[in-house]
């Protein structure tokens, strides 16, 4: 497993999609901060109370809806290239177990997802806190939200790794990943708060986290458990199918 991860990270360092999604996430962080700043200018101009503006903790979770799209793009293209370049064959011939190959791709996808999230958090926190004030919600609650976000990233990674490794065609897997992300988002939008399905799909969790600034969300203490469940189930099924898969 270590060898596979070492090879994957070597490849990651030179991967253009990886840098592309980092740039997108950095852009998103800067745009979020600029929007908040522009709002503040307007509020002051019209003598409105700035207390109604987004707090820094809200800014820190403003990106949750976009993470799925970025991860679907990265995972499907990065993992899918294993098939299109044929390097997956080199790994099998080199004596690696299929379960290890599956898990190394999953771990890499998790690491990249966590990495872009941290980049976003660092940019928004380092500029947002000095400019717009500190986090207003209790730290324990904020940490729980962060746990939910990171576990949501893990569950996204499980879903996209599954599709990318079970479907041997890179174009098909990329389209499937993006469409699934979109479909999950549409399903989440169509639900009303409290619907169980919102807990069971990562996009639904993202939606609930994004609502936090406007309404109470009692689910923050359990969302990570749903993510864990999604991850365990999908990874188990994925490894089982990948073990049986006839590779070309």
């Amino acid at each position: 497993m270590y060898k596979l991860l070492n090879a994957a990270f070597f490849r990651l360092k030179k991967n253009k999609i990886f840098y592309f999604i980092i740039v997108i996430m950095m852009g998103m962080a800067l745009f979020t901060l600029y929007s908040r700043y522009a709002d503040e200018i307007k509020y002051i101009e019209y003598n409105l109370p700035t207390t109604n503006l987004k707090s820094t903790d809200r800014l820190l979770i403003d990106n949750v809806l976009i993470i799925g799209f970025l991860m679907s793009l990265f995972t499907s293209l990065f993992v899918g290239t294993e098939y299109s370049d044929g390097v997956i064959r080199n790994k099998i011939i080199a004596g690696h177990k299929r379960a290890n190959m599956y898990m190394s791709n999953f771990i890499l996808s998790v690491v990249v997802g966590v990495m872009i999230e941290i980049i976003y958090l660092l940019i928004v926190a380092s500029i947002g806190i000095p400019m717009f004030g500190s986090i207003q919600i209790p730290v324990s609650e904020f940490l729980l939200i962060l746990l939910d976000i990171f576990m949501m990233i893990v569950s996204y990674a499980a879903i996209f790794t599954f599709i990318s490794l079970i479907c041997s065609n890179i174009t098909t897997s990329t389209v499937l990943c993006l469409l699934l992300t979109l479909a999950m988002m549409v399903i989440a939008v169509l639900q009303t708060p409290g619907d169980e399905i919102l807990n069971m799909i990562p996009a639904g969790q993202a939606m609930q986290i994004s609502w936090l600034a406007y309404r109470e969300c009692a689910n923050i203490s359990i969302l990570w458990i749903y993510s864990l469940g999604i991850t365990l189930i999908i990874n188990s099924i994925g490894i089982y199918i990948f073990n049986k898969k006839e590779l070309k």
Binding site: K3, R11, D85, V87, R89, N90, I93, A94, G95
Partner: protein, 304 residues
């Protein structure tokens, strides 16, 4: 004889279609084993099974004596390098980066012989050029270079000269011969370019409809294919006396015919036999190419 690869009654079914059917095969150590078969004969399927990309429906294969059902098979596969159908290379990376990734996949701590491998396959001057800009021959050689990382002693090449120009074909041929001679690497090469294969192979396996219909050494094949006169006579004993007396190389075939391999004066031969009351009933001059030999084996057909 020590075999690198053996198969026993190997089967591979895709639904109702038998791609590999009761296949038995033996690749001796140090051989360049030419796997010959027309398109769809099962060459690539067989290679996929050996490489562990797919599992046999029944039967077994052994690599270095370890059966595919043994857990040790994944470890043994580390001694194999392979190109299945197309070279497995990162087209957006340089030749050196492709090799570096393979070093990491294999967990090799040092990149010491990386330059040597690139030099061996003639890619040491490619610098920062991405593999996507390589010619087909260069991509094929890069695929071989990747397969060589980890110093395997068994290389499997699936149609290595497909789509190559004459220069590329020569490059690959010379590389295979050099690796076999200098490093003692055993090769399994599948191809339907029989003439090209005949320039390098030391052993042949003829594959048809998923079965190995014959395994034969180059020496034996050359004997079978060499120029000869095939005669059928009414008095075999006298004919053999004549051949022995004149120290001519011959072989008695199962079908009652005699193959004479030395050059003879036909008029003298006919007269001499006639004097011994031996009448020639059939007389044919024969010389077979590998292609004809294969066609005769599979009983005609096309697309070879």
């Amino acid at each position: 004889m020590e075999y690198i690869l053996e198969t026993e009654a190997l089967d591979k079914k895709y639904k109702q279609f038998k791609a590999i059917d009761d296949l038995n095969m033996h690749i001796p150590k140090g051989a360049i084993y030419g796997l010959i078969g027309k398109n769809g004969a099962g060459k690539t399927t067989l290679i996929r099974l050996i490489c562990g990309l797919q599992k046999p429906t029944s039967g077994k294969y052994m690599i270095y004596g370890i059966p595919n059902t043994d857990k040790q098979i994944t470890k043994v596969r580390k001694r194999i390098g392979a190109i299945v159908e197309t070279p497995a290379i990162r087209i957006d990376a340089t030749a050196e980066d492709n090799l570096k990734e393979q070093y990491k996949i294999l967990g090799l701590p040092s990149l010491d012989n990386l330059k040597d491998i690139l030099k061996l396959v003639g890619l040491s001057e490619t610098g920062k050029k991405k593999a996507r800009n390589f010619s087909l021959g260069m991509k094929q050689r890069l695929g071989i270079a990747i397969a060589l990382v980890g110093e395997p002693d068994f290389l499997i090449l699936d149609e290595p000269i497909n789509g190559l120009d004459p220069e590329g074909i020569i490059e690959i041929r010379e590389l295979i011969l050099r690796l076999n001679k200098e490093k003692g690497i055993t090769f399994l090469i599948s191809s339907h370019y029989l003439d090209e294969l005949s320039k390098i192979a030391t052993h042949y396996g003829f594959l048809n409809k998923g079965k190995i219909i014959q395994e034969i050494s180059k020496k034996k094949l050359e004997e079978n294919c060499r120029k000869r006169i095939e005669v059928k006579v009414n008095n075999m004993k006298e004919c053999i006396y004549y051949l022995e007396e004149n120290k001519l190389s011959y072989e008695i075939k199962n079908n009652g015919k005699i193959n004479i391999y030395d050059m003879i004066n036909i008029s003298e031969f006919v007269v001499a036999l006639s004097k011994r009351n031996c009448i020639i009933e059939e007389f044919n001059e024969k010389e077979e190419s590998l292609e004809n030999y294969y066609m005769n084996l599979i009983g005609g057909g096309s697309n070879v």
